[in-house]
Symmetry: C2
Subunit: 426 residues, 2 copies
């Protein structure tokens, strides 16, 4: 009976601030980093479970310390039993009363649990010989519901309602999987739009994005209104009228400022406005959404937990839900959020980029398209062309689509050489 | 020109789980702990700034790691300049883009900033030779407004509105300070009400609380409805009809459960219901508040930041705001929350207990009573009679009142012997 032997945590940091990749109105100089975790067992198969929390530099060591605290919760456990009850493991970790005090269910400790949960899913998928999206999409509705903690959700979504959603999507699963394998999942690109890029680079990258088959690009805004207008004009000119143009303020504004600023950018035919204000401000997002309609409000990459997403949906504060693979407590909580989105009929366009977020979140979007919402209508996964070379199974993005990964696992495994080269303190 | 020399962090844990002090429906066995910080300067006065983040055990080391990360932000700085611009320091720490990613503005990293900010205030008050409440109450409205970051608040409270609130309270400051020094600030006690106590101990502690002059006691509920009814009956019998009886569910319920459960407890004449559900659930609290009216909803001890409190007030989701000294980013953010409460006309009854929370939060309540809301009407500071013996200036609670501390500082300094005896890993 194989058991967990150890959990190794690594403080992996890439010096992206040197090139201003990833620069926006709130994050001028990020160093894309991963608080990275490897779960090791004594099984003969030699398989490891890999997961991480994405950060942007300073504090990655604190995130690693939070991961390390969780090692004792897994070491010595039976591997098969643990992986067969990831709903139970999730509850045990998230509801540990002493750890919970450090959030509750938010910030460093909650994200650490997410990193470990994702590593457990990586191992489970590898042992099953399937990519995570396919493993999840092969579970019965009952098995999926058992993964979700409905605590604090039942005023918006009950287990029975979740079951009904999943059962309604069951008949078409095989056809949708075949279509996914054939056509891929739609993507959009943020590569052209970082604030630190000059106008020429912006225009060139916009043209390249269209040539590469993307039907939407996204620009960072919120630093300076005149700059935003100029950059939007350049982008619109470069991409033409038929490509969608979204903007992302990265939480830059107060509510009244957001409404005024977006009003000034309305002429550029905005596909959505992302993170107009504090990610915690449900009522603020709702006020902005009402004021700027019909321009959609998008948010979620900094959404701390399912309770926040529940309220954003209840308040009609967003119309594009941006799932993030490592902000909440891993795959299980993201399934809860996908079910909430399906209940409220809101489209999910996951946040990605950073390091490894594309590799990770595609599995959740593909699972959603097959087995939860059962559609890719209006949905796209964000794509940024950075740092994929550090992963064992980098994303396959062509013709504006993510092509479904076929390798077993959750996509979260970094190359040993990259871990070694970019780790601190080892 | 004195400079900051070092910041020492200590992992201080008291084994309170052995006696079930502090046990409630969500936290069965807390070990009251402090991620404790000491700021050392090279000034001749030998004064240190002390602050802490309260936790309940596991994870206190992660909280300490977050504090340690902040040392480099202070060491080498001019002490006087730093302490004269605590509004600026707050903004610099909270809006550090890389650290902000770890919240944003919530959880371990945000609380760490709060611990450091509180230590800076402790030092500033000691250097001024005043208790913190008196120092704050001696600042001009303009100086107070400069301490507050209005980012994400201006749809509910602008700097001008804050100034108007503070100016309106200016004329009566001296009289209210004299009255505070004479009569103290009202307190209520949670000492009798922990879930882990048997019925006999509950009844005895209730009688003692009345004898000690408290006009409100609070009971933990939410474990089992039949137990709650029995314990409320015992408490009501012991305290008589004239003493107020509040209940605290510590986030135990979903929204529909909360409404049903509280309805069943209505006959016991409930003074308020505290933390009925997830502290993040603004809309849930609002739904509960509407359903159980006129019983007041109280919450706040787990409120992550000023954006959450803004919304709780906007949504009329609470009618008792429970300020906590170490959950948000310290004194500055708590001043923002006091101003929000004053704007919305909601009473503030701070959370205390734990270790050192009574010592710390009394300063904020007293400042509020003198210079912000300008009233103590309906207001009380929580009191729990645990662990005060570890502090240099323990609270002075008599006749159901907190008597104003007179020693310079923020009340947050622990005895060296206690730090030594209860610290880990040193």
């Amino acid at each position: 009976m194989p058991r967990f032997l150890a959990m190794h945590a690594h403080d992996v940091r890439f010096p992206t601030s040197q090139t201003l990749d990833g620069s926006d109105a709130m994050n001028p100089d990020p160093d894309y980093s991963a608080a990275y975790v490897r779960l090791v067992t004594d099984a003969d198969d030699g398989l490891e479970g890999h997961g991480f929390v994405f950060t942007i530099g300073r504090g990655n060591d604190v995130q690693v310390a939070a991961l390390q605290l969780l090692e004792s919760r897994l070491v010595g456990r039976d591997v098969a039993e643990t992986l067969d009850d990831l709903g139970g493991v999730w509850r045990e970790l998230v509801h540990d009363s002493q750890l919970r005090w450090l959030g509750p269910e938010k910030g460093v400790m909650h994200m650490a649990i997410g990193g470990v949960v994702n590593a457990l899913w990586d191992l489970r998928a590898k042992r099953a010989g399937k990519p995570l999206w396919q493993l999840l999409a092969s579970l019965t509705p009952e098995e999926i519901v058992a993964l979700v903690d409905f605590r604090y959700l039942t005023d918006a979504l009950t287990p029975d309602e979740a079951l009904a959603i999943l059962r309604a999507a069951e008949p078409g699963r095989a056809a949708r999987e075949a279509r996914l394998l054939d056509e891929g999942y739609p993507a959009y690109t943020t590569t052209p739009g970082w604030l630190g890029y000059d106008d020429e680079k912006l225009a060139r990258l916009c043209r390249e994005a269209v040539a590469e088959g993307f039907s939407q690009i996204k620009l960072k805004v919120g630093g300076d209104l005149a700059d935003d207008k100029r950059r939007l004009a350049i982008a619109r000119e470069a991409i033409g009228p038929d490509i969608q143009l979204a903007i992302d303020a990265n939480q830059r504004w107060d509510v009244p400022d957001a409404i005024r600023w977006i009003e000034a950018l309305r002429p550029y035919d905005i596909a959505w406005v992302e993170e107009p204000t504090s990610p915690d401000d449900i009522l603020g997002h709702a006020a902005i959404a009402r004021a700027i309609a019909p321009i959609p409000v998008a948010t979620g990459e900094h959404g701390a937990n399912r309770v926040l997403f529940k309220q954003l949906l209840q308040a009609e504060a967003l119309s594009v839900l941006q799932l993030d693979a490592t902000r909440v407590a891993g795959v299980n909580e993201n399934i809860a959020i996908l079910l909430l989105a399906a209940k409220f009929g809101v489209r999910v366009c996951p946040h990605a980029g950073g390091v490894g977020l594309c590799e990770a979140v595609q599995h959740l979007a593909m699972f959603d398209g097959i087995a939860v919402s059962g559609t890719t209508e209006g949905r796209m996964i964000e794509f940024v062309d950075h740092l994929h070379e550090h992963f064992v199974t980098p994303v396959d993005v062509r013709d504006g689509h993510y092509y479904a990964p076929k390798a077993p696992g959750a996509g979260t495994e970094m190359l040993p050489q990259s871990i070694l080269e970019y780790s601190r303190g080892e």
